[in-house]
Each structure stands twice: as C-alpha cells, then as structure tokens.
C-alpha cells in the first residue's frame, strides 16, 4: 500500500490553474522538499492535502484512505499535521495553550465530565500538559512557555507552530516555509530539528522551502513545481544539475550561459 500518494491533482481559481496535473509519491520516513518559484502552487498543494481546498480533479490517498472523502477537521486524525506559511497561531493564547491545542484529537472526556473537572478530565488534562512540556523541551521553548503569541518574535512563532503540529504526534508533517523570518542560527537549529523529528519521532516530512541551503541539507528527495506543474523530481544533486529547474528559477538565457 502506498504511503501518501497524490495523483493528477488539478485545482484552478478563476482562470488561473494553481496546480496542474501534479502527481507525487511520498515514501514513509522520507524528507521530501517541494520547491519552485513564487506562485508555483506549493502552498496550494498543501492546502489540498489538508482539505482546506477541494481540488477540481485528482486524488490524494493516505495509506489507502481517500482524503477527498474527508473534511478538513478529520485530516489531523489520520496523523497529518501542518504549519502555515503566514503563521496561523492563536494570538491571544500562550505558547503552551497553543501547543495543547495540538492535543485536541486525543481528548476523550466529554463536556459534562469537564464541567465537573474531576477524575478523568483532570487526569487527561495533566497527561496532555506532560506531552506539551515534552514538545516545549524538544524545541527549547521553555523561556517562552507562558508568553502570549502576540509578543513573540516571528522566528519563535514559527517554532510554536511547529510545536503545535508535533503535539499531534503526526505521521506526516507538512512544513510550509518554516525557515522564513528565522535568523541564520535559527535556521541551522531548524535543520537539526527536522532531522531529529524524522530520526527520533519517525515522522515523514514534506517541506515547502525557499532556503536552498536548508533544502539541500536535509532532503532525501526534491520535487520542483513551476506554474503548477511538476517539472522535476529527484535527489538534491540531480535537481541542482537539472536544466529545467535552472530555467524555471533563472530564466531561459541564463540557463544557456550556465550550461
């Protein structure tokens, strides 16, 4: 059975075809980067996987399950978590509260038991907090744990989003430009964390990234999108040498000069 498989995915907004016939196979345990110039359809692809968008055509399956039959809030239950390009955090809540939201799918106590908040609900809350603290330790967010999101620098907010996704104990993690707004040092830490997430937690990672050093440093495989089309796929070395890719990034004439 295929792990995560995207087949002939097409979605258009008005006259613009954002994603055009893209097919992609993601293997379990790999780090796959999706790169491409601005507007190539990378984030749209993510939004289709997390069912925020419904594609016009095509199919996405995760371990044999058809994602098109599910609603957006059911995707996380399969173990697919994501971060957002333009941070979507709960601004008026603290760091730990944000991360605790990642535990939403593990709630077992009902509203009535929470109204009494004794026994099961109480134990469950403690259990979730313990997990959230583990995530905070992992991402070294201790200094910020009780701060409200609105007061945090951009780079830290990105990490909180990553933490919230990790609290969900995902099997697949979609990371949408996590490194944007991070300093060089933070990006280097991020590179180590991405590898750790895969090695220690066994999470399959799909990255959308602009930082080529990060992409080349962590990816097992790279897929290149341009104008919604999948123009190349391969290992970092192959992609760097691929004429199509160079053309997409630098334009026709430069490609000739480069070769």
């Amino acid at each position: 059975m295929k792990f995560l498989s995207i087949r002939d995915l097409t979605i258009s907004f008005g006259g613009i075809t954002a994603v055009n016939n893209v097919s992609l196979e993601v293997k379990e345990g790999e780090i796959l980067s999706v790169i491409g110039p601005n507007g190539a359809g990378k984030t749209t692809l993510f939004n289709c996987i997390s069912r925020l968008y419904t594609p016009d055509r095509g199919k996405i399956t995760f371990q044999g399950q058809d994602l098109m039959k599910l609603k957006a809030h059911e995707i996380s239950r399969l173990g697919i978590a994501r971060t957002f390009q333009n941070i979507e955090l709960f601004t008026n809540m603290t760091v730990i509260e944000n991360i605790l939201l990642g535990r939403h799918i593990f709630r077992r106590s009902g509203l009535l038991s929470q109204a009494v908040f004794y026994g099961k609900a109480w134990r469950e809350e403690i259990e979730h907090r313990r997990k959230a603290e583990e995530v905070i330790d992992f991402l070294e967010l201790q200094a910020h744990r009780n701060k409200r999101i609105g007061r945090l620098p951009y780079g830290v907010q990105k990490l909180v989003e990553l933490g919230r996704a990790l609290a969900l104990e995902p099997r697949v993690l979609l990371m949408d430009e996590v490194s944007s707004g991070m300093s060089l040092e933070e990006t280097q830490d991020l590179m180590i964390w991405i590898k750790d997430i895969r090695e220690d937690l066994g999470v399959t990672i799909i990255l959308v990234e602009h930082d080529m050093r990060l992409v080349m440093g962590v990816s097992d495989r790279i897929a290149v999108l341009d104008y919604g089309k999948n123009i190349a796929e391969g290992q970092p070395g192959e992609i760097q040498a691929n004429q199509e890719v160079i053309k997409a990034y630098l334009g026709e004439s430069n490609a000739v000069v480069g070769s």
Binding site: S50, L52, K71, A72, H73, E74, I75, S76, R77, A81, R82, F84, E88, L89, F90, T91, N92, M93, I96, E97, L100, L101, G102, R103, H104, I105, R107, S109, L111, Q114, A115, V116, F117, A121, W122, E124, E125, I126, H128, R129, R130, E133, R164, L168
Partner: protein, 341 residues
C-alpha cells in the same frame, strides 16, 4: 509577596487558585454576602438577587462572545424562553420548581443549539443581525401564542416551593440564586480552564488553524451557543420566580445589549470579568436614579438616559480599557506584586 512563582506540578497551571489559601478569601466573601443579604433590608436583597441573575446571564454570554468570538444580540430572548418555560411549567402543569429550573435550561439549550447552527457560516455583523431577528421572532411568538403565554398581559409566576419551604421573600430567594450562581460559576470555570475553553478560544483566534488541528468548527460553535443559552435560560427561570411576573417588556433588545455591555466592560474571555461587569451594570441604573435629582432638568426627563449611559460606557471601555475591569484588575495586581520595581 513572592515575585517569582515556582510550580511543582502540572495541575498548578490550571487550578482555579494557584495557592490553596486563596479559597479562604472566597469563604470570607461568601460569609460576607450572606450576612449582607439578610441584614441590608428588602432593597439590598432585591439588588443582590438581580446581580446574581445578571452574572449568570453575562457569564453565559461571555462563553459565546468572549471565548468563542461569536456575538449574540438575542440573549434576552433566550432568557425569556427560560422564564416563560419555568413559569408555565410551575403554574399550568404544577411541576415543582427544582425540576422546572433545569428543564427550562435544557429547553433553552436545545433552542440555542438550533440557533447556533447557522453560525458556522454567519459571523460578525451578520450573526448579530440573525440573533437580533431571533429575539424579535421570539417576542412575537410569545405575544401571539396567547393560550400558552397570555400574550401582552404577561404571565404571573409563583414563588418556588422546595421541601415544603416557600421562598416568597427576596431574603429567602437569595439562597436559591446564590447557590445556583455558585454552581454555575464553578461549572463555567471548569469548562473554560480545560480543553473545551481552549478549543473555543482557538476558534476565536484562528478558524483555519483550529480546523487543521481537528476541531469540528460547526459542532463546537453550536455547542458554545448551547452552553450559552442554557445559562441564559437558567437566568430567565430564576428571574421569573424572583420578579413573579414575566412579560416581553422584561426581555427586549436593550436587555440583550445590556448583557453585551456587561461582558465587554467586565473583560472579554474572563469569567471573573463577567462577574465584575454584571455587578457594575446592574448597580448602574440604581446610581443613575439616585443622581437624577442632581442632574440638569433636560437630562432628568430624558427617558432613554439609561441607554445613553450604556452607550457612553461601552465606548469609553472599548477605547481606553479594552480588556475591561478584569484587565485593570490584573494590571493593579501585578503592580502591587512587583511593588518597588
């Protein structure tokens, strides 16, 4: 005073009070209020009852507006449904009060759930309009359904009888509202400090992110409406057996706006804030009527003085103290705690 507070267990993060001794203050407060209610005469007991009922309604509305970010201009209508249900059950069907009270909460909650369903698509001003329309429709149904509600004549309710005891004075009735309030405040605090409250706040802050985290938006919004309506319904039932007469004039749009003002003035998203806001706004008309004698004659005769004062207070708070009384209280507390700094 300790400036740094170290925590040793996870539960310290979500206990109602981080230090156990603070329950002592609550015990003092409870004792004080009970003494006050029995010694301050009929007027004092009347005011306390009214304050408690308003706190219940305001806390309910805050769960919807402050925590979930959904506005309702129909809360007086929910209260009306609770009040009429309770009155009709006790008078026409002879249902005992202790059963009629939760029943009116349940029925209002059910209606709240249905009203909440469109809130998945309607937000902001459109939801305000829809809930306002719900209020008007409810008023009209009560007026037209004369066989059940006696229409514009209003409905006379009876004082509650529990274990053969008749709670027919404000001083006696105080115990019913006070115990109801204590239970409902505890429940509200429990719902909001755990994962339910967090989920509601998440919906308020970012629907997209909440949805990706697995939150069923439609279900939770409807739940928020349900819980909020239950509180309003219970407040309505308590109100009916307190005033002993219900009519649509007690539950107008101005009353709904009054609850919004309580929630905003107290502080959105804070149970303590709603308590403060409800106390302030309930006492306000009394203050106005006291000071009326000292006002210029032009104001004295203005019939909508109360509405105008509501408006001014709401504007001042939104501009200068958007976090409400609760925000102010937190500021003062922190200032004292770190005093010389």
């Amino acid at each position: 005073m300790n400036i740094v507070d170290f925590r040793e267990s996870y539960s310290q993060d979500f206990r109602i009070f981080d230090k156990f001794y603070k329950w002592g203050w609550i015990a003092f407060l409870v004792a004080g209020i009970v003494v006050l209610s029995q010694t301050s005469g009929d007027y004092g007991a009347y005011l306390l009852n009214l304050i408690f009922i308003n706190i219940i309604a305001a806390v309910g509305l805050n769960i919807l507006t402050g925590f979930t970010g959904l506005i309702s201009l129909g809360h007086a209508a929910f209260m009306a449904i609770g009040a009429y249900t309770s009155s009709i059950l006790t008078v026409k069907l002879g249902v005992p009060f202790w059963l009629a009270l939760p029943a009116s909460g349940a029925l209002t909650g059910l209606i709240g759930f249905v009203v909440g369903l469109p809130s998945l698509r309607l937000t902001g001003i459109y939801l305000a309009l829809a809930t306002m329309a719900f209020g008007f429709v409810t008023d009209e149904i009560i007026l037209q359904w004369q066989s059940l509600t006696r229409g514009a004549d209003g409905f006379a309710a009876i004082p509650p009888i529990i274990f053969g005891m008749t709670f027919d004075s404000y001083k006696k009735y105080f115990f019913i509202t006070f115990i109801s309030l204590a239970i409902l405040l505890f429940v509200a605090k429990n719902m909001t400090r755990g994962s339910f409250g967090r989920t509601l706040m998440a919906i308020r802050d970012s629907e997209t992110a909440a949805e990706t985290m697995g939150v069923n938006l439609g279900w939770y919004k409807a739940l928020a409406f349900t819980v909020s309506a239950i509180y309003a319904g219970l407040a309505g039932s308590l109100y009916a057996h307190f005033i002993l007469f219900v009519s649509v004039d007690n539950f107008t749009l101005l009353h709904s706006i009054g609850f919004i003002v309580m929630v905003v003035v107290g502080g959105l998203g804070s149970i303590t804030g709603s308590v403060m806001g409800a106390i302030f706004i309930t006492i306000l008309p009394e203050i106005i009527s006291f000071t009326k004698d000292y006002l210029p004659s032009a104001f004295k005769t203005a019939s909508s003085l109360q509405a105008a004062v509501y408006g001014i207070i709401l504007m001042l708070f939104v501009i200068y103290q958007p976090a409400g009384f609760y925000g102010l209280w937190v500021k003062i507390k922190n200032w004292w705690r770190t005093f010389p700094l």
